[in-house]
């Protein structure tokens, strides 16, 4: 308990520093030059139709026709310089579904009010947001985040809020908070120390201390890594460690190698009764490379080896993807993709061919065919096939209409014929 108290005090201290930074940076806010107002919106309408059936059981045929509407609305410099609003929501209408019945529902995916100072030294965000840096490790929350750079190259941030759940439901007992302090030189690298806490039902579901670092040499060699420790455990064991080194300076060759140590317990909530069992730590080492000559051919490949501490099991994955791009801005594209994945208890081999072309500026056609061969049968099937075709038409510079048809023969759905009609519209305007 003493340790927990100390941690909470640490968070309070970081929060206090952030608040000081906010006050310090306030003059920057008031002296900012005027930027134009920008309003933007996008609409993404998708109609899907699916016919799902088991060829062995003709009565199993099920038709589903869901429709989805994604709407994004936003504005920058609205009323106050640097103040922006953002909303992204999803509506779903299931017209026919013999299994679950017709339904209409929706979801607020993101919403927030954000203030960003002109020189980028202060940021405050209120609403549903994604916190990805440090020990927070990709948490989606409904709350507040403050970030400031009160001194050159020093980056302080803190967040607090409720963990986001579907249907905009707040679980009052499930909340999270954390903070991060970093020495951050954007053109060289950074070192950060962070804390991420999640409480659920009055207990600590997750308490991580994180160290993250990055180093860039001439913007060509990147070294990125992070380590997560379990703050609740007296021994502070490593829950996760990742290190990647990449060479991304030359468009002709990009190479990265990485190592990772993972413990699923570090990600599962500690309030889960199952956490005591799922302690199979594993190591992953591998790399990726992309080579592109002056001609139209590019080849990318990857390989990764997994070592599980339980029973000394292992697994691997590797693949190669040659792609031929012809014409200006890859007007014609043809590619192959071969992958082999061997998991903990099953594996598969993928053979895939795909192509796309833009015969006219407004039209885009794609073809995609994939064959999966499974090591062990899944639901009695040892392979699955997918064939897809899309036709897209650019109605205007910011509007696109697309139709997709795909045929899947797979173990899970047995057979599925699916189609999709998508209309994307984007709009943005500047104004004083």
């Amino acid at each position: 308990m003493e340790r927990l108290g100390a941690l909470i005090n640490g968070v309070r201290l970081l929060g206090f520093l952030c608040l000081n930074g906010f006050v310090y940076l306030l003059p920057n806010v008031l002296l900012a030059d005027q930027e134009p107002v920008r309003v933007y919106a996008s609409s993404n309408t998708i109609f899907r139709f699916m016919e799902v059936l088991d060829p062995n059981d003709p009565l199993s045929k099920v038709h589903q026709i869901p429709a989805y509407e994604y709407i994004t609305l936003g504005g920058d410099n609205v009323g106050v310089q640097g103040l922006s609003v953002y909303f992204r929501g999803l509506g779903q209408l299931q017209v026919i579904d013999p299994v679950e019945g017709a339904k209409l529902d929706g979801e607020v995916l993101f919403y927030h009010l954000q203030y960003h100072s002109k020189n980028g030294r202060l940021k405050a965000k209120l609403g549903r947001q994604f916190i990805y840096e440090g020990a927070a490790n990709n948490v989606l929350l409904d709350g507040i985040m403050l970030q400031g750079r009160p001194w050159v190259d020093i980056d302080l941030s803190a967040y607090a809020g409720f963990v986001s759940w579907p249907a905009f439901e707040f679980k009052e007992s499930n909340y999270t908070f954390g903070a991060r302090a970093a020495y951050d030189r954007w053109d060289y690298g950074k070192v950060g120390l962070s804390l991420g806490v999640e409480r659920d039902g009055g207990s600590f579901a997750r308490t991580n201390i994180g160290v993250d670092f990055a180093y860039t040499q001439f913007r060509q060699v990147h070294l990125v890594g992070n380590v997560l420790f379990d703050a609740l455990d007296r021994l502070m064991p490593v829950q996760e460690a990742k290190l990647a080194i990449a060479y991304i300076g030359d468009r002709h060759l990009r190479v990265s190698v990485d190592y990772g140590l993972f413990n699923p317990v570090g990600r599962l909530p500690k309030t889960s009764i199952f956490t005591v069992f799922t302690n199979t730590r594993y190591h992953a080492v591998g790399g990726e490379a992309t080579a592109k000559g002056d001609g139209p051919l590019s080849i990318s490949c990857f390989a990764r080896y997994f070592r599980y501490e339980q029973n000394s099991e292992d697994g691997y994955q590797f693949g190669i993807k040659p792609v031929l791009s012809l014409g200006y801005r890859a007007k014609y594209l043809v590619g192959l993709d071969v992958q082999r994945v061997k998991g903990f208890d099953n594996g598969y081999t993928l053979f895939r061919g795909f192509s796309s072309m833009r015969p006219l500026k407004q039209i885009e056609l794609t073809l995609d065919y994939a064959e999966y061969l499974y090591d062990s049968k899944i639901h009695g099937y040892d392979r699955s096939h997918v064939a897809g075709f899309t036709l897209g038409y650019l109605v205007a510079r910011k509007a696109r209409l697309q139709g997709d048809v795909s045929v899947n023969v797979n173990p899970q759905f047995k057979q599925q014929v699916a189609g999709l009609i998508k209309f994307v519209y984007e709009f943005s305007t500047f104004g004083k």
Binding site: N346, S355, D368
Partner: protein
């Protein structure tokens, strides 16, 4: 029946692939777009015509219209091919300059045209690729702005910026696999062109459509969840569970498995004498149970496995703890 259907589907897919390939090849052979055959080398270097003679205007130098050409050249029937690459389908020159760029030729007048447009003077015909490249041309003076990430000095709207410095931030090949590494290294590099909200297009645990459905046309991209992922997800989740848990919470597994009624129990699941007894299954693969029953302190295990319950006391002999751990609080509130 199943085999016949499978063969039919493969045949149709194969026919579409072959027809598509032939269509692509023919289209590539027979499509001829028009372009203007104009040589800056001849006009500027050999004929010594001043740039401003054709490119009028102050802040935004204009691309000359056909009438400007006709001041010196005559339109001769049947000789359109002198200026048009495809005279059968002549098109006017498309101004491809990015409208969101805050650039004034007036302000840069002292620099001299050749400083930025050296490639144009060497070329025999104008093209989009000869517009000044930011990294080579702009950076010769504006490196400090670039290092200070003061992009808005020149770019009015970075979120739709097609002039991104591709040498550094190109999205070719399997960029989707690498983007996490780059974003973790310095997300401000991404922010040059993308708003932070853009991440939410794919990284949303509350979304119902996976990226490969939303972006089905991006066949060359290394998107996850592609094709028949629902069949493969158990293989990939067991191989690299952390990769799943970077975005998904365990509760998502249970909600989907319950909705689809996947993972039913055999009839002798509660019989201790049976090889299918749930206790044995749980010890062998507790994650399979957790896929549906991991509801934290609300788990249904403790309905029976509790002191005085049908499942008996779950504590081993000599068990002692401080009861402060979250698991203990499921019963000991």
């Amino acid at each position: 029946m199943r085999g016949l259907l499978r063969r039919k589907i493969i045949a149709v897919a194969g026919a579409i692939s072959i027809a598509g390939g032939l269509f692509f090849a023919c289209a590539h052979l027979f499509t001829k777009e028009d372009s203007i055959l104009f040589s800056h080398q001849i006009h500027v270097k050999q004929e010594s015509i001043e740039c401003a003679e054709c490119h009028s205007g102050g802040a935004h130098k204009e691309i000359p219209k056909e009438a400007k050409c006709m001041e010196c050249h005559e339109k001769v029937e049947g000789k359109c091919g002198q200026c048009h690459k495809n005279p059968k389908h002549p098109q006017t020159w498309q101004d491809t300059r990015f409208p969101g760029l805050r650039f004034s030729h007036e302000t840069h007048e002292g620099v001299g045209c050749e400083k930025c447009h050296a490639d144009v003077l060497r070329a025999n015909r104008p093209s989009e690729t000869e517009t000044p490249r930011m990294l080579q041309v702009c950076m010769s003076c504006h490196r400090r702005d670039f290092r200070n990430i003061d992009c808005k000095r020149c770019h009015a709207d970075l979120s739709e910026n097609p002039l991104r410095p591709t040498r550094l931030f190109s999205h070719d090949a399997d960029f989707e696999k690498r983007h996490g590494l780059l974003a973790k290294g310095d997300h401000r590099v991404c922010a040059h062109c993308h708003r932070e909200e853009f991440c939410g297009t794919c990284h949303s645990t509350l979304d119902v459509l996976p990226p490969d459905i939303k972006f089905g046309e991006k066949v060359g991209a290394g998107l996850i969840h592609r094709h028949d992922f629902i069949t493969r997800h158990s293989i990939e989740a067991r191989q690299d569970p952390n990769k799943c848990m970077e975005c998904h919470r365990v509760e998502e597994c249970s909600s989907c498995h319950l909705k689809r009624k996947v993972g039913g129990h055999p009839p002798d699941f509660m019989n201790p004498a049976s090889p299918n007894f749930h206790g044995r299954a749980a010890r062998l693969d507790i994650l399979a149970c957790a896929a549906c029953h991991d509801a934290g302190s609300q788990t249904n295990c403790i309905l029976c496995h509790r002191v005085g319950g049908a499942g008996g006391n779950p504590h081993p002999s000599g068990f002692g703890g401080d009861k402060s751990h979250g698991v203990c609080k499921a019963c000991h509130r």
